[in-house]
Symmetry: C2
Subunit: 269 residues, 2 copies
C-alpha cells in the first residue's frame, strides 16, 4: 500500500482483523492490540500481525473498536503512539470521533473511515482477507486535516480495492441513520418481537431469515452506534412505527385498494 | 408424479408457472389458465403447458392466484372442471379457502397447500423448474377431506422434492402471520419509510438491501394475504411497533446497558 510501511490496529475483530490481514498481505508491518490478549497471539500466528502494538512509531493508527470506545481509545493511543501520519477509525458513526480528534489537537492527521462491509458475524474468528474488496468506504476528514493526509487515506483504501467517497461527518451520520442504522434496528425489532412470541428462527422462510439476519449482529457494537447517533436514529425509527401503524389502520378499514397502495410504497416498480 | 396424469393450473405466475414446468417435465399433461391470455401461449411455447384450461376433466386442479381471488376462483372452476380428484391452491393463507371449499361442498377433495418457496419476483417470467425442490410445503386438508386425497397431495409434492407437513388451517394462519406475513410487512414498512425520506435503494449497504428485499414483492399478492389474515397479523404488527418504541425510549434514557440488552433480545447468542 502506497508509502505506508507500518500500521497499528487497535481492535482485531471482524473489521480490524480483516484490515490487518489485508495490510500484512501487502507487506505493511502491522502491530495489533486487542482487549483480549489471546486474539493478538492468534493474529500473529495467522501472519496478520507482526507483534503487539505498544508505543512504537507507526505510519497509520487505526481504531477498530465500537464507536463510543473509540472516543476514549483516540485519546489514549494518540498520546502513546509516536510519528503517526494518519489516524483513522472504522466506525459506523463519524461526527463524534471527528469532533474528538479536533478537541484532542490531532485533527490535522485525522480522517474517519466507515467501510460498508462486514456482516452479522463479529470477532477475529469472522475476519478474512478481501473483506474490503469492492466495498464503499466513506471518508470523513477532520476540518483541520491536511490535504496530504486525506490523500494518504484514499490511497490506503484504494490499495485494498475499496471505493472511497468523502463526505461531511454530520451529513454521513444523518444519511447512515436511515440507510444502515435503521435497517439494523428494524431487523432487531422484528427478531425481538418474534422471540417474544416464541417463534424460533427455524420457523422462518427464506424471506424472514433475510429480514432478521442482521439481528444476529453484535449487541455491543450496535448499542454504541445507536447511542452515538440517537438524534438522527430516533425520528427514523418513528417513521417506521408510523408505517406499521398505517398498515394496521388500513387492515381495519378492510378495503384492498389502500392495502395495495401501502405495499407498493416501498416497491421497486 | 404418482398416478396423476393431468393437471389444471389456474394462474401461471411464479408459483403456478413453476409448478406447470415441474409437472410437465414429469410427464403430467398440464392445462393452464391465466388472466393474461398471452401468458398461456408463452407457457405453451416453453413446453410447460399442453394447452389452455377450459372445461376438460383433470386429475388435479390447482388455484395459483392471490388468496382472495382464489376464493372466487374456487367456486368458478370447481363448477366448470369435471372428474377432479384433488383440488388445491398455493396461497399463503389457508383458513378462508378451506372454509370456502367446505361451503361449496368440495371439502372431500380439497387439500390447501402453502409452499415456502418463491421470492420477491413474480409472474411467469420469474417461474422456473425446481422451485419446490427441498422446500417446505404446509398442507391443510379440509375437515371432510378423504384420506386418499390427502395421500395424493403428499405424493404430488414429494414427487417434486418438497417436504410436506400437515397442519390445521387456522393454526397455519396464526403461525405464518408471525413467521412470514410479519417479516414481509416489516420489510415493506422499512422500504416505505426509506422511500418517504428520499433514501434510494442504492444508498443501502448489503444489510439494508437484505432487510428491504421482500419489499419488492407483488403489492397485489400481499394486500390480499394481509387482508385475509388481518386478525392474526394486526397484533404481530403491534408487537414490532412496541419494540421500536421501546428502543426509542432506551435511546432517550442515554444508558448503554439497556440498549445492549435490547439489541440482544432477538440475537442468536
Amino acid at each position: 500500500v502506497t508509502s505506508v510501511a507500518s500500521a497499528g490496529i487497535v481492535g482485531l475483530g471482524l473489521m480490524g482483523g480483516s484490515l490487518a490481514r489485508d495490510l500484512s498481505a501487502r507487506g505493511v508491518r502491522v502491530l495489533g492490540w486487542d482487549r483480549d490478549g489471546s486474539t493478538v497471539a492468534r493474529a500473529m500466528e495467522a501472519g496478520a500481525v507482526a507483534g503487539p502494538l505498544r508505543g512504537e512509531a507507526v505510519d497509520v493508527l487505526v481504531l477498530a473498536v465500537p464507536v463510543l470506545d473509540a472516543l476514549n481509545a483516540l485519546a489514549g493511543w494518540t498520546a502513546q503512539v509516536r510519528g503517526v501520519r494518519l489516524i483513522t477509525d472504522l466506525g459506523s458513526t463519524k461526527a463524534a470521533i471527528v469532533a474528538r480528534a479536533e478537541a484532542l489537537g490531532v485533527g490535522d492527521r485525522f480522517v474517519g473511515a466507515h467501510p460498508l462491509a462486514g456482516g452479522e458475524r463479529c470477532g477475529w474468528g469472522a475476519s478474512r482477507t478481501g473483506l474490503y474488496e469492492g466495498a464503499r468506504v466513506y471518508l470523513t476528514p477532520a476540518p483541520s486535516c491536511a490535504e496530504g493526509v486525506v490523500s494518504l487515506a484514499h490511497a490506503l483504501w484504494a490499495g485494498l480495492g475499496a471505493r472511497t467517497e468523502t463526505v461531511d461527518a454530520a451529513e454521513h451520520d444523518r444519511r447512515l441513520a436511515w440507510s444502515s442504522h435503521l435497517p439494523q434496528a428494524v431487523s432487531s425489532a422484528l427478531a425481538a418481537a418474534l422471540a417474544g412470541a416464541g417463534v424460533p428462527r427455524e420457523a422462518l422462510g427464506p424471506g424472514g431469515r433475510d429480514v432478521t439476519r442482521l439481528a444476529g449482529s453484535s449487541p455491543e457494537l450496535w448499542a454504541q452506534v445507536a447511542a452515538d447517533n440517537r438524534a438522527n436514529l430516533a425520528p427514523a425509527l418513528a417513521a417506521v412505527e408510523a408505517e406499521l401503524r398505517e398498515l394496521r389502520m388500513r387492515l381495519d378499514g378492510g378495503d384492498l385498494s389502500p392495502l395495495r397502495a401501502w405495499f407498493a410504497l416501498g416497491g421497486r416498480g
